[in-house]
Amino acid sequence: MDMLAFARGPGLHWSLTILFVGVFWRLTGILLLRRSPDYSVARISGWWTGALRLIALRSWPRREFSATTSFPTLIGYLFHIGLAVIVFGLQQHILLIRSLTGLSWPNLPSGLVNLTAGVTAASMLALLIRRMTNPVLRLLSNFDDYFSWLVAFLPVATGMLAVAHLGARYETLLALHMLSAELLFVWFPFGKLMHASLIFLSRGTSGALLTRKGAAI
């Protein structure tokens, strides 16, 4: 079995299995932990509105904090939206998703996706440089931060090379691209990439608890 066949076959199968089982395991491991009852009299009832409010509100920093947080937030949005455009807009990705799930939708023009990939890669590099140079980020950063960045960056970089037919045979580049995406699937449940699902849980939890008190969210 050559590299491309492995990437299209068992590689894809097992990486997706690890992704789904791992995410389920991690979420279950968090949610099944003990929850203490709160006997205090709530100031505001309807915890779920607080949860939804915080999920929405924290999507952009408060005006008071914008001077220091707007730039990283903007760059963060740029690469997250960029990734979404690439994953769900490129024709080849839609074909792969259709072969796995039966779902499909119209693709975006390849020129637009290629441009987006360039912007995404540049914004990811900017975030990496910031992480390596900002004293606070340097102190906080660990293996997970750098490795998660790498496994998110590799599919973008190899995808751009495959589209441009640069550096090796197309089949080899395609195989490397698929394998890099599979590495991301495998790593996803174990590292900080899980924030893609935990963000709703975390914001929702704080929103519900703080709103109950009438506290600031």
């Binding site: 991690r26 491991g29 205090s40 100031r43 906080l140 849980l201 608890l209």
Partner: protein
């Protein structure tokens, strides 16, 4: 230990603008003689006990974006990365990953996260206690919505179990456990003070009535340093004609057990108040001008009690706002330009941000809000028990300068708050910087401006 012995072990510092214990001749910020391994093991066991679904959700969600630093007065004033709020939780996170997270067996088997050591916890003591007032401002900036202040409170539980609490904070908490008050306001002192104040000010101060609709509590800071608050409270409650009392078996609202991280002492302090309220069949417990007392009783009291409390709990500013809005407390207008300092645990963390503003509006003051006010206020730097810790003074003064700038920028001539701990932090800062601004009590302003009953009727006519 009895009250005489505790005075010898942890003598009070009675001189100076803030109340705490004397600085130790040689600092020893450890309790007991446990071997290091046992200290670390105790801390980790307690950390693990605290790791419920809520803490786990937050600890799993951090993306190390560092934005919380920008909301923390310690980082903003020093620029030192170690004061980044989430960094203060590092040993706590490490213990979580290794001992309680979904992949804990993997972390242990491959030693991906090492055991938390006593040396590590000792070096984190400054970050968990001296440089965190539990003000919760960082919780408002976190893009993942993590409530970091709650996590730091939990981390303090493990530190207390390990006997790794800063000397002074432990000392005042121990004093509270031994004699019912952290700062020398024993039941005898409190009763005598009430009797003296009643005589001196010609006001009825009810103590130990067997039954009353309202049980009123006090902060030992008020009892020992700002006793006019006792008089002001009595005047207002007498004016309203309510049935109220102080109780010597439950009057102390501060909870240094909670601030130190000692959950047993927290429970002890809370139960004294709860049991006193139950004993006198109170329908309402009024908490004094004290920030953390509000968090301890209003939001954690019922959970300590293990069931809903059979009475309402209200901060004095909420009580005043309600009575003034109902027209029961008419006041003379107060033509002063005022700025209000929000106590973090009452406003941002407690949800009672508007109450003092209602009171100030009824007083008719010209309110000049600070640029960051209400839910976004900057902490005075004295919360979380930090004001008691001598070695934290230099850092505390640095963050206090932020508050001074904010106050100066408003141009207001008068400074008001509704927390006696904030008030003593301001008094201490004022003395240190020879500042011309003095903090005033919201409660005392209301009492001082009450329209006397006869005048009130004339006014109404």
């Amino acid at each position: 230990m009895n009250t005489v012995e505790i005075d010898a072990v942890h003598p009070l510092m009675t001189e100076g603008p803030r109340l705490t214990v004397e600085p130790p001749a040689t600092r020893y910020d450890k309790q007991g003689d446990l071997p290091d391994g046992e200290r670390a093991a105790r801390a980790v066991r307690q950390f693990v006990r605290d790791f419920g679904a809520t803490a786990a959700t937050w600890l799993e969600s951090c993306i190390h974006c560092g934005q919380c630093a920008e909301a923390c007065h310690y980082y903003v004033q020093t620029g030192e990365a170690k004061y980044t709020p989430v960094w203060k939780l590092e040993p706590f996170k490490q213990a979580y990953k290794r001992e309680a997270g979904p992949f804990a067996p993997l972390y242990r088997a491959l030693n991906l996260k090492r055991d938390v050591s006593a040396a590590e916890l000792e070096s984190w003591q400054e970050l968990i206690y001296d440089s965190c007032t539990l003000c919760g401002r960082c919780s408002l900036i976190c893009p993942m919505g993590i409530d970091l202040a709650s996590l730091i409170s939990q981390a303090r539980h493990g530190m207390a179990k390990a006997g790794l609490v800063p000397h002074e904070l432990w000392a005042v908490a121990e004093r509270a456990s031994v004699e019912g008050s952290p700062l020398g306001a024993t039941p005898k002192v409190f009763r005598e003070r009430c009797e003296w104040l009643a005589d001196e000010h010609n006001v009825a101060i009810h103590v130990d009535l067997p039954e009353a609709d309202i049980l009123v509590s006090m902060s030992s800071i008020e009892i020992m340093k700002y006793p006019d608050s006792i008089v002001a409270t009595a005047r207002i409650l007498n004016y309203l004609g309510t049935s109220w009392t102080f109780r010597t078996d439950g009057y102390e609202a501060t909870n240094f057990g909670m601030l130190s991280g000692n959950a047993d002492w927290q429970r002890e302090s809370s139960l004294r108040l709860i049991n006193a309220a139950v004993a006198c069949k109170a329908k309402r417990l009024i908490l004094p001008e004290c920030g953390h007392a509000y968090g301890a009783l209003r939001w954690q009291g019922a959970n300590v009690y293990g069931q809903p409390l059979p009475f309402e709990v209200e901060h004095i500013s909420e009580f005043l706002a309600r009575e003034m809005q109902a027209g029961h407390l008419p006041v003379k207008p107060m033509p002063a330009s005022v700025t209000f300092h929000d106590p973090c645990q009452i406003s941002r963390r407690g949800g009672a941000t508007q109450a003092p503003r209602v009171v100030l509006d009824k007083l008719g003051v010209d309110l000049h809000e600070m640029e960051m006010h209400g839910n976004l206020n900057w902490c005075c730097g004295g919360g979380g028990g930090v004001v008691t810790i001598h070695r934290a003074d230099a850092l505390r003064y640095k963050v206090f300068q932020l508050k001074m700038r904010q106050v100066e920028d408003t141009g207001a001539s008068m400074l008001v708050s509704s927390c006696s701990n904030c008030r003593q932090t301001f008094d201490d800062g004022q003395a240190h910087f020879h500042w011309d601004k003095t903090m005033h009590s919201l409660l005392e302003l209301v009492a001082d401006h009450l329209i006397e009953p006869a005048a009130s009727k004339e006014n109404a006519a």
